[in-house]
Amino acid sequence: MAKISLIVNGNPVTANVDPRTLLVQFLRENLRLTGTHVGCDTSQCGACVVHLDGKAVKSCTTLAVMADGHEVKTIEGLAADGAPLHPMQEAFREHHGLQCGFCTPGMIMTAIDIVHRKGHEVDDHTIREELEGNLCRCTGYQNIVASISAGAKAMAKSDLA
């Protein structure tokens, strides 16, 4: 077992984990943060995307021990319970950016990462290219792209990063 200490959604967490525990497993099974999903489990679909030190990564292809000493943010960390949604979440709701919702947590974490890197005025072509590592099997991306475009603009006016 390996002892790890990290910050998850702003809270310090310490745990003993088997080194082969994946970050996504640790989040879901140890911390019960089940918003982060396991889709393909082969680093292709992006349902497991979380932010590690502020950058989008695939938590199914990251060991929990590799996050030791680092900061992780999951979909649960975007807005407090009962508080208004994060502007990107709100944009997905408003623009019907989801159907079954399985890919949505990863889509939203990737979307916020896109805004961090590309800014608030990001064109549709760029959004589509940036979504290379996130698969949706219901909506066909049209409304996801519309949601991200609107969410990016809304984030400029919000305190939530």
């Binding site: 390996a2 088997d18 080194p19 082969r20 994946l22 489990d41 082969t42 680093s43 992006g46 995307v49 590690l52 950058k55 989008a56 990564v57 695939k58 292809t61 990251t62 060991l63 021990v65 590799m66 030791d68 000493g69 990737t110 990462d113 896109i114 890197r117 940036e130 290379e132 590592g133 996130n134």
Partner: protein, 268 residues
């Protein structure tokens, strides 16, 4: 995934000692090749030595007339580095086209080279640019480093520390992606260097990355896509699978090389 012991050394020397002490130990940095392979149980190293916390191993800088990239520099760091963008923009472009944004936040240049996947992008750049791979033990020329499918000159306790790229006059990398996996079905890196021209191909060869000397000679005489007219690449020794026949890949090499030459010339 099978059980393993995890080690997090603070220096390359400590890392190398761990490799000596623990037989069959594997090095991990970004983990974006090794972890999937371990999940499939195709690899089951009893020890993992994590390089990602060694300070100064991801530095990107100019040293003399070479661009020097640290082994744990991530694809996203190379893609967005101002130094790389100014000195070898083709390399920044290549790094920015590996995998997807989340993969680029984790995957490293050292990991890509040490793995020598036959469809990886970086080996083409290293071979075409005539880069030198520096390890904790020695310096290796690109030609000696790559030794076939998933095989390199690295010894069991040898760790890549940095890669030194001499600056080309012009360069470009063009890849034709497999529509499903998005890996290079064929990728061609063309570099016009001060004394010669090099054309390196990834994705197509059954033994991994290789050079096309017939193209290189023609391009040395005249660095224009027209110089390649009438020269073709034999299909012999190229990969043939459900994604494309050897003949198809041979054809693509010609097409992509011409596009790469045009792209390199267009950058002036």
């Amino acid at each position: 995934m099978y059980e393993f012991k995890y080690h997090r050394p603070g220096t390359v020397r400590q890392a190398a000692n761990l490799l000596v002490k623990n037989e069959d130990a594997k090095v991990i940095a970004g983990g974006h090749t090794l972890i999937p392979v371990m999940k499939q149980r195709l690899a089951s190293p009893p020890h993992l030595v994590d390089l990602s916390h060694i300070e100064g191993l991801n530095t990107i800088e100019m040293k003399g007339r070479s661009l020097v990239i640290g082994a744990t520099a991530k694809h996203a760091e190379v893609a967005t580095s101002a130094i790389v963008g100014e000195t070898i923009p083709a390399l920044a472009n290549l790094a920015g086209g590996i995998g997807d944004p989340a993969v680029r936040h984790k995957g490293t240049i050292g990991g890509s080279l040490a793995n020598n996947d036959p469809t990886a992008d970086y080996p083409a750049a290293v071979l075409a640019l005539g880069a030198t791979i520096v390890t904790n033990k020695r310096r290796l020329k690109a030609e000696e480093f790559f030794q076939g499918l998933f095989t390199t000159a690295l010894e069991a306790d040898e760790i890549i520390t940095k890669v030194m790229f001499p600056l080309p006059k012009k360069a470009a990398y063009i890849k034709f992606r497999n529509q499903a996996s998005r890996y290079a079905l064929v990728g061609v890196f063309v570099a016009r260097r001060p004394s010669d021209v090099r054309v390196a191909v990834t994705g197509a060869g059954s033994e991994g990355v290789f050079r096309v000397t017939a193209f290189e000679e023609a391009l040395k005489k005249r660095f224009a896509s027209k110089a390649l007219e009438g020269i073709s690449v034999p299909a012999e020794g190229l990969n043939s699978d459900i994604h494309g026949s050897a003949e198809y890949r041979a054809h693509l090499i010609g097409v992509l090389t011409r596009r790469a030459v045009d792209a390199a010339n267009a950058k002036e």
